[in-house]
Symmetry: D3
Subunit: 265 residues, 6 copies
């Protein structure tokens, strides 16, 4: 690739992945709504509000691949989610359509299916069961991406990220964790495939206690190598086991199922 766009580059996950993308494209265009800090030689930085249609158009122009981590990534009030995750995503897809339809990796979320229990094993066709407004916004995103695929041929990987961080931080994350290395190798597979289509990809490492079945995307050849199990001792020491009647031990979405609807001010 010549130019790869990373949105949400100043966020937690964005910051972590930004440094790892160097080899994937000649130029990595990093973007966020806040300042992006120092810019490396292979980077170009663009501050952009996803809710601004023409700014997003300029952002996407010239890119031949997009990793879309931007937007709200936790439960929040609806107006903020609407601007960033609904209007923002529409803007992104319109910009992609106007600029040659670069392939998109869309950071969807396990919160699209957060109300499944942790003793259920899901495949990619499990009906949606979002656990909050954030999860609902990701359901919207998946539907929007699917429509652009069927109508215009726009390809997207719908990555339902579990918990992508340096290491798992709770007992639940022993199931949902995805290491940065595994995310990176997934990104490589997504942009390498001659044809991608518009598949759901479950975003977790090769964890002993994983809940999700990725065999339907075996054509991508992604084989995560990390396993959260090696952190079990550390977590057992750091915190008590969740009680069986705690949502964090019941639902795949964990504590999100308990979040209230956040009121507008």
């Amino acid at each position: 690739m010549k130019r790869l766009l990373l949105t949400g580059a100043a966020g937690g996950l964005g910051s972590a992945m930004r440094g790892r993308l160097k080899g994937l494209a000649e130029i990595v265009r990093v973007s966020d709504i806040v300042d992006l800090g120092p810019v490396a030689d292979h980077e170009e930085a663009v501050v952009c509000d996803l809710g601004d249609h023409s700014a997003v158009d300029r952002l996407v122009a010239g890119c031949d691949g997009i990793i879309h981590l931007g937007g709200i990534s936790v439960e929040d009030k609806f107006s903020k989610i609407m601007n960033a995750n609904l209007l923002g995503l529409y803007n992104l897809y319109e910009a992609a359509r106007a600029n040659g339809m670069p392939r998109i990796l869309f950071a969807s979320s396990n919160h699209t299916i957060g109300f499944y229990r942790q003793d259920e094993y899901l495949d990619h066709e499990a009906p949606l069961r979002p656990d909050g407004l954030y999860g609902v916004s990701k359901c919207f995103g998946e539907a929007l991406a699917r429509m652009y695929f069927e109508k215009f041929g726009q390809e997207t990987a719908l990555v339902r990220i579990g918990s992508c961080m340096e290491k798992p931080k709770s007992h639940r994350m022993l199931s949902t964790w995805m290491s940065y290395d595994d995310f990176l190798s997934m990104i490589e597979c997504v942009f390498r495939a001659p044809r991608l289509g518009c598949p759901v990809i479950w975003g977790c490492s090769n964890n002993d206690t994983r809940w999700w079945d990725n065999s339907h995307v075996s054509y991508l050849g992604w084989h995560p190598r990390d396993n959260a199990e090696r952190f079990r001792g550390e977590i057992d020491e750091a915190m008590p086991k969740p009680r069986p009647d705690d949502p964090i031990a019941i639902y795949q979405g964990g504590p999100f199922v308990n979040d209230p609807i956040f009121p507008e001010d």
Copy 2:
């Protein structure tokens, strides 16, 4: 029921159903963003913009059932769909939550699955394949309703309406048509059931060439009686058969699959 709310009561479908709801509740509160015309003895009329949070709250207060036909019901520009079908639906569910969670019949649409071919027979768990921004907004609505059900217990019937009108107007509608009488009997079943849950219901009559399987909601006891087949001759006379390569003959969503994205001004 004491008071049943009908939104979108000035629209095409709303107008047709309004007169038929008399026996279902003591008072039918009819609502739309435009004038509602003469008001019958058993009715009360409320003009309301669904995008207005507190207006919607007042609209819902005191109702113990909601038939939500309001919002945009064809392809349109995103800003309008966002206001009416995304923000508007959020407002409606927040209002319901604040007002005793009256049961909701939500007019979803076959355009949530419009990209399936007409030779496919669908059940309620078929993955979504919306055919435009309107269809995407209905996917959002179904996800939002599902979340309110799992999180708060709010019950909704997700009615994927085919073509609800006086009679079918095209060859495609021989499959998708739902008569007003059948819609009315469905409404009765939905509000009669001791427990509803949050099921998808395919909204079409007992047409010979129907595409959709409602056996999963047989617990509701809805048995549509009409059959579009009796209009075949009339339609054959009125218009030529669609050509096999015309989307109206290929896709369940019919002409919607050809709609462009409508530009903002």
Copy 3:
């Protein structure tokens, strides 16, 4: 058939069916643990405790068909269920094996799956979810019958009876009711078929609000004609609608899910 055995002939369902069996066999051998009352010309009566191995053997000898309604048919203490429904059923199958393996219609029950919700539509392969010791005993019976089928070729119809009575007596029975006429026509189909195998048959009439799918036994040609719906008005008048949080409105097994384990004295 020359001689058809009816067990449980003095029970509620047995008494109702006894008179209807006349045309099915030259002799109907009616049996129960209590007195059987006056005996018709085409009948012979045998008082028998199902827990008595050799008495059951004598009961079955000479029969070329068995309708097994005998045993405990409601929740009860385990010792009684064990004697009648576990030991008793074992005795019956051993007697059948020793006496030419007459075809058996076994009265299983919807209480084998009573913990499914009423908004679920079940096929015959739905995993078992019994709602009490009685339901568990019927799960045992189905497993025993299946084993005798695979090991010895003994054929059995596993009839999961809903509510077989003169008419439905509650809102739940609008879904589960089976009329005596429909049960009779099922019995005829079961004994008429050249080969029966060992199928599950859902025992309910053609009710508008039925929960169960019998298409897998369409080879038997059973088409129930009655429909509980015509009793809806009568029931609506006779009793209040169940509240949505009442198990009678939630679970297919209805009030059985609330039964305690009955203590031994």
Copy 4:
């Protein structure tokens, strides 16, 4: 249609349907390898060996619909089946491809799945289990038709005919019978549909004891009206019930499963 071709028109089924096709097209071209008898005004007769490539090409030229009943329709020696059902079918599809790809109704057979038991209920995706060389030749035909559909767009209805005759002649045919009227209405549906695709259609009437599920082709709107059940008494009188261990009572293919491989001379 202007010209409809009927192959196998001198065979048992062909003779019966020939007279019924009058209204379907201006001209019905009837064909067989043997003499076709008197020719009606709306007919033209062509004697043709399906194994003769150029004769088949001439046969198909000018037709805009084909009902292909020709070929061997019972178990026979391989050389005959190969000529008529393998080479002959290839010739037919090549001729269709060369002549504008008229829609084809291909008489496949229940003998493609004859080794399923009669207590199994099949949908159109059940893996093939042919019961003889004849059944294997129909599996070949279905595969060939499918390939021409995917590669060239040639549409075919793969009609797995049960027992199409004036009335059922055995207990097995109470399940497999298709009346001439129902076959005719199916033909009308197949040629009427704007798009057909390449579906399997189970060819039996609305028999009480049918084994096959046609819901996947509900888009065609075919609703068979006849029911073999009304002939049960007649059959019960005319012949003894099959014994349970007779293949005619065990397998869907009935006596075909017992046919030997017919030796070449």
Copy 5:
């Protein structure tokens, strides 16, 4: 755990596992109907007849986990199976319910599904096909456990043990073998999980020729490490290969399918 109960501790499997349980709880209460031999420091021994209600109650009191290997574990006469595996299991669950509902690992068996062929690959929802009275008693046990789970919240792991022994002893066991180490690691996973539910777990090692799919319990994180394949040479030398028509080569239940019903004396 403070106190872990092991029933059947004097049996073949019980003896093997008894020594391995040391680290799992402060005290291991070992129990059987026969003498339990020398008792280790971390152990307490209780002789108990499972058929004795109050003895079982005392046995369970004070335990916070139960590994239930007790009862009859091969084909036997019904009276013995009824006492130990039906009444005994009921007693155990009543005792658990009266004593704080400690989590239970229940030794179910592959003989619940013994009549499946060895060329079938099963998931946990495959309908039951027991191969004898012993297998039927385990079907009863699974149904009873399920009912206690749904009704009272009692958690159980339904472990369908294949062949748990030091090493495989026949060609069939190359598929069914579970090593003691793998069973131990499964036990650890079962008692470690914050929530268990009531899942079926197939009890075999990571054998090359396994028949059973455990992906539905991937949330438990059990990864068996042993593989019976390394014993193939040894078995090939020790005994002839089974003949293809020997049930040991046909059915998953192996020789059990040939066991007769054992007569009462």
Copy 6:
């Protein structure tokens, strides 16, 4: 085995496997329609036209296992495919039936399902979608083998070979490649199993990007060890990536989907 027959031994795959079969049987009978070159000590060579019934009978006589690679293995004109793959296969099965029914490994092909897209993951029951006359002939072969299995008990492994060669030669083959070593170990498993049945086996190595699920034959214990992924670099260097709209990047059958029907001369 005493004598193992290898047909097609002079072809590309036959030549490669011929040398590897030494240890599998005392005598390897190698056969082809062309000269077989020098014959090793453990071999016997037979030149044979598969279209010649009695020659094939002599070929099979005395063999207790058959690896059938013979016939046409690419797209060709129908007359040639009919002789070698239809008539030839019939001859082979008749010869096997007349000679003790030695187990057969039949080289079927991925071209039976070549019209599935590369982003679909298939199990063994996916409906057939052949991509040419060659693929259709393999569908015929699978149906014929199945019929001989059900009717006569003849066992066959239906091996849908991907690309069996020394190393993958295109990007598509990174998914479809099967190494010679893996094919050899599959052959060993097929002939070792006490019972084989008539299963489909997907013939590819343990490639990162494989499309096919072999879990249903886990009872055979075949675990391919090679992985085409290690050749990715080599292929990336040797040729450009396929364009996304090139059939080689879209369909599992790759370039075969573009093959025309080859005309007879």
